[in-house]
Amino acid sequence: MENVINLLQWLLPFEWMQYHFMQNALLGVILVCPLFGLMGTMVVNNRMAFFSDAIGHSALTGIALGVLLGMRDPLGAMIAFSILLALGISLIKQSARSSPDTIIGVFSSTAVALGIVILSRGGGFARYANFLIGDLLSIQEREILLLLAVLAAVLVFWLIFFNGLLLVSINSTLARSRGKQVRALEIAFSLLLALVVTVSIQWVGILIISSLLVLPAAAARNLASNMRQYHVLSLVIAVFSGISGLIMSYYWGTASGATIVLCAAIIFFVTVISRQLLQPS
């Protein structure tokens, strides 16, 4: 880790890089953003933005359960609850007749309400408000290593299962005719998405986590014409808006997560305009 920080200081010889919390935050951004850039490509393709939003919101309930169980670090409870919720939504979605939007909405609002009720007992909700906007600057070495592990897991999953996931998103019966395990792939992706969202929620914030998933990929779609370009652009846009957003938040004294999302949003609008200019149809 020493070496990595030395390298970053050499690459970015700015005043803010002297601070330990900024070094850690930068490392956090360099790990979280590619994670979101990658997952986002499939979230946008499968129209799962609402799903990831629901998982993000359910983090509140996870925290609440952690508090009830007397855990000092609620991450374990958060992960367990989000995976349970993702599994529940996936299973009910295939058997129920209501639209997926309704099912996700029902689950997510129930979870959020439950979380708020538990956390607000005795008027103590303000303590948890930093989960809403996230606090990248408080990230510690141990948590950076956890993010690294999650990124590695996502990369491995993406190497092995991406083709199958892509076919399922195109036509599930076609995927089936090609011997892909449609249900297993869908559930595995939902669970992985739940894990990624939950692990990063403390740093990005509940309110904006799905924007960070959607924006880089949505911007990349406007420019890409095949899957490789889509991924490269989504990753580049995610990391670029992550680093520039972090730097801006330092100088402006703003919340880093929201500043990063704002950068990604500006890039998105630039891609929309350039697409209009490139092909006037």
């Binding site: 129209r47 993406w158 991406f162 195109i170 036509n171 095949n226 889509y230």
Partner: protein, 277 residues
């Protein structure tokens, strides 16, 4: 097998798959019976068209054959030599894709995703590119290799999906024709391609169609399906049936011109799978 002999099928060149047998197949979703007591034999090299009103269970039957939805009854595939059960390669052309038209997914990506282990986001590679170009050439679509799926016309997309279903060459090809979006010329081109491929490769084909004129021209056999099999026979026989005429609102057979049929291909009504249920 006696019936095949009777109908002259034993002269055919043996391929990996001789006969697909569907026995007493049923599909129930919730409390609704979608398919019931479906019995059908599909012979090698034969184009069987599946026709029927909306909601008759045509697409469901294809999905059941693919194993995409659970069903009762039995599906068996026999090879030509010993009549042993074999696991066939099934090609499938879906009616429509659920993908988002804005998605940056090109035709080459689609082939690479279906045919290769290497993840598409690392790029398809030169070998895959040549392979896909060769497969597309078969359906006169080589020029579409780098086009986004969302930019293709209905007919182009259908030909690309056909090329994909033929790679690798299947024993049984299932085609679910789109209800709209393909113009008449595109449809005829598609049917010509399918018909030629069948002859060259001795394919068994099950085709869901909404264009009775084209069915009459190209199909060997027509299956009129409505929850169960109502009628099986040559296009001429099926389209002369009063109930079919009523169901499709056909005024007469003027509009559809069945080709003259060799006697050997005639499937007699009243035989095991030709009878009315």
């Amino acid at each position: 097998m006696t019936e095949e002999k009777k109908n002259g099928y034993n002269h055919r060149q043996a391929c990996g798959l001789c006969c697909t047998t569907i026995e007493d197949l049923g599909v129930v979703r919730g409390k609704t019976v979608i398919l019931d007591h479906v019995n059908l034999h599909i012979h090698c090299g034969e184009l069987t068209a599946l026709v029927g009103p909306n909601g008759a269970g045509k697409s469901t039957l294809l999905k059941a054959i693919l194993g995409d939805i659970s069903h009762s009854g039995r599906l068996s595939y026999l090879n030509a030599i010993g009549g042993d059960s074999v696991k066939p390669v099934i090609g499938y052309v879906p009616q429509q894709l659920e993908f988002d038209p804005g998605s940056p997914l090109c035709v080459l990506d689609l082939f690479a995703a279906a045919r290769r282990r290497r993840p598409v986001w690392l790029g398809a590679g030169k070998r895959m590119q040549r392979h896909a170009a060769y497969q597309l050439d078969r359906v006169q679509a080589e020029h579409l290799l780098f086009r986004r799926l969302g930019d293709l016309s209905g007919g182009e997309l259908q030909r690309v999906l056909l090329a994909l279903a033929l790679d690798p060459m299947p024993d049984l090809l299932l085609l679910d024709e789109p209800v709209s979006g393909v113009d008449q010329r595109g449809m005829e081109l598609f049917y010509d391609l399918v018909s030629n491929l069948r002859r060259q490769n001795d394919l068994s084909i099950i085709l869901i169609s909404h264009d009775l004129g084209l069915v009459a021209r190209y199909a060997d056999r027509v299956v009129f399906l409505n929850q169960t099999i109502q009628l099986v026979g040559t296009p001429h026989v099926v389209f002369s049936d009063p109930e079919v005429i009523k169901s499709f609102g056909l005024v007469s057979l003027e509009g559809i011109a069945p080709r003259p049929e060799p006697v050997a291909q005639k499937i007699e009504l009243g035989a095991s799978h030709g009878k009315r249920y």
